[in-house]
């Protein structure tokens, strides 16, 4: 089940992978920055990090990161359908990550929608999507960390691939 770096590099463009990792780091950091903890815990006191205590800045950057990720997810899905699945198949751990990521994306889209003017959700539903978004993100982070340590990748080569 181990996925070699060779498999990963042939499955996708290295540059795209780097953009994906950077966007994930950006959304994770700015996502945690939505909670009022960076100022409390001196993160914003670090040189060059004052912006992290500006909730409008972290919110804007969170949206930017989400936008990049949405584009990449659409690319990954279609690319896999068109070409990837002929040579590779998703590993079980990839399916698990996809489920968690789908949860993050779905609750994130709902939250962005809720923030638009004239869009109102019930207070209970708003609390639910806020907590669910954080819950999915925490679960994804923990899962991704464990899978990286176990060297489990997203794809494996199809055994009968030509």
């Amino acid at each position: 089940m181990k996925t070699s770096s060779r498999t990963r590099s042939t499955a996708g463009n290295r540059a795209i992978s780097r953009v994906f990792i950077l966007a994930m780091i950006l959304t994770t950091f700015t996502g945690f920055g939505q909670m009022p903890i960076f100022k409390r815990y001196y993160i914003s006191d670090m040189p060059g990090m004052a912006w992290s205590a500006d909730f409008y800045a972290t919110h804007f950057l969170h949206y930017v990161g989400a936008m990049v990720l949405l584009g990449l997810f659409a690319y990954f899905i279609l690319d896999y359908i068109f070409t990837g699945r002929k040579k590779f198949q998703l590993t079980p751990s990839a399916y698990f990550r996809i489920i968690l990521m789908a949860g993050i994306v779905a609750t994130g889209i709902l939250r962005v929608f809720k923030n638009m003017p004239d869009v109102l959700f019930s207070p209970a539903f708003t609390v639910f999507i806020d907590i669910a978004h954080l819950g999915f993100a925490m679960a994804y982070l923990f899962t991704a960390l464990v899978l990286v340590l176990m060297k489990r990748g997203w794809l494996r080569e199809v055994s009968n691939a030509l």
Binding site: F60, Y63, M67, L72, A74, V112, N115, P117, P123
Partner: protein, 324 residues
């Protein structure tokens, strides 16, 4: 001046109490009752306000059951920079916003036609149409109702004060030692509950007027569907050659002030600081995020286009090599 003071004293001591006593019996106007889905706005005509504080007292009296009753001693919080915010022994403070005072009277002395004139302005939450406090609260504790009221649920709020930071007027006020954070990690996260005007949402739900409107002896405030309130505000503005505040501030609010003098002048004259909001012009705080949210639709389309392009280029290449 003496006359004004004695009038104030009289109103404060007499009419206000009488007004508060009958407040609960006064019904909501029919136009307001009918608009259960429509956003309701309040019109505050500052020409009429005499600064008697009847609204302040009524607000405190009616909302007392919602006020925090903190547990003491407060849990020690870390790191040491996290400060306790305790107003529980200063409940009588009425010259600024506190967790126990959601409405106060701000004074501005300005020159009108060469003469000094003092205006008194009731100040509280503006109830924005797209409230950043509700949009950016990480827990959904702050939220907006269909009738245009923005509330903070004291059962969910952790007192992080983010709503106060993002509010252009820094309206919500914190009380330490109360709320959900006490049951979680009181030493490391949260710091109480944030409080602000909820425009007497419970009274409105019962078909009653907010207490501040009910008791006002001068009919300074009115409540009604936002478009009707705006119509009336503009009519007054035209009539007196006056000015409006709140219609466009922060993208639009449900508190519309009308004044005979420019709000820039009033803003320069009012005392501002913690719990004392200004009257400056405010841009829509959420506009940038809203524009980006609309642009987000492009992202998946661009991603799909890139994947499709990659596929067709690859297919073309393979067809070319087969031809050779």
């Amino acid at each position: 001046m003496d006359g004004k003071i004695s009038r104030r004293s009289f109103l404060k001591g007499g009419l206000a109490v009488a007004g508060a006593a009958v407040a609960s019996s006064l019904p909501m106007p029919e136009a307001v009752k009918a608009s259960s889905v429509e956003e309701l706005a309040t019109l505050i005509d500052i020409r009429k306000c005499i600064g008697c504080e009847a609204c302040v007292e009524a607000c405190q009296e009616v909302n007392e059951p919602k006020f925090p009753e903190p547990e003491k001693p407060f849990p020690k919080m870390h790191p040491s920079r996290v400060k306790v915010s305790d107003w529980s022994d200063k409940r009588d403070v009425t010259d600024r916003l506190t967790p126990y005072n959601w409405l106060f009277i701000q004074e501005a002395t300005v020159k009108v036609n060469g003469k000094e004139e003092t205006f008194t302005v009731p100040r509280r939450c503006m109830h924005c149409q797209n409230p950043p406090c509700a949009d950016l609260c990480p827990w959904g504790a702050a939220f907006k109702l269909k009738n245009g009221i923005t509330r903070i649920n004291s059962d969910y709020c952790l007192g992080g004060s983010k709503c106060k930071d993002v509010c252009p007027w820094h309206i919500p006020q914190r009380q330490t030692g109360v709320g959900l954070y006490l049951d979680l990690l009181p030493a490391f996260a949260g710091n109480g509950v944030m409080y602000k005007c909820d425009r007497c949402y419970n009274r409105i739900a019962e078909g009653k007027l907010p207490a501040c409107i009910d008791v006002c002896p001068e009919d300074v405030q009115k409540i009604g569907p936002r478009d009707e309130i705006l119509k009336e505000a503009h009519a007054i503005q035209k009539e007196i050659g006056g000015y409006i505040y709140g219609e466009k501030e922060n993208g639009g609010t449900n508190t519309i002030y009308v004044s005979p003098v420019p709000f820039e002048d009033l803003n320069k004259a009012v005392e501002t600081g913690p719990g004392k909001p200004d009257l400056r012009s405010v841009k829509d705080s959420m506009a940038q995020a809203d524009n980006l949210a609309k642009a987000m639709v492009i992202a998946p389309i661009a991603g799909m286009a890139a994947a499709a392009a990659k596929f067709f280029v690859g297919a073309k290449k393979s067809m070319g090599s087969e031809d050779k």
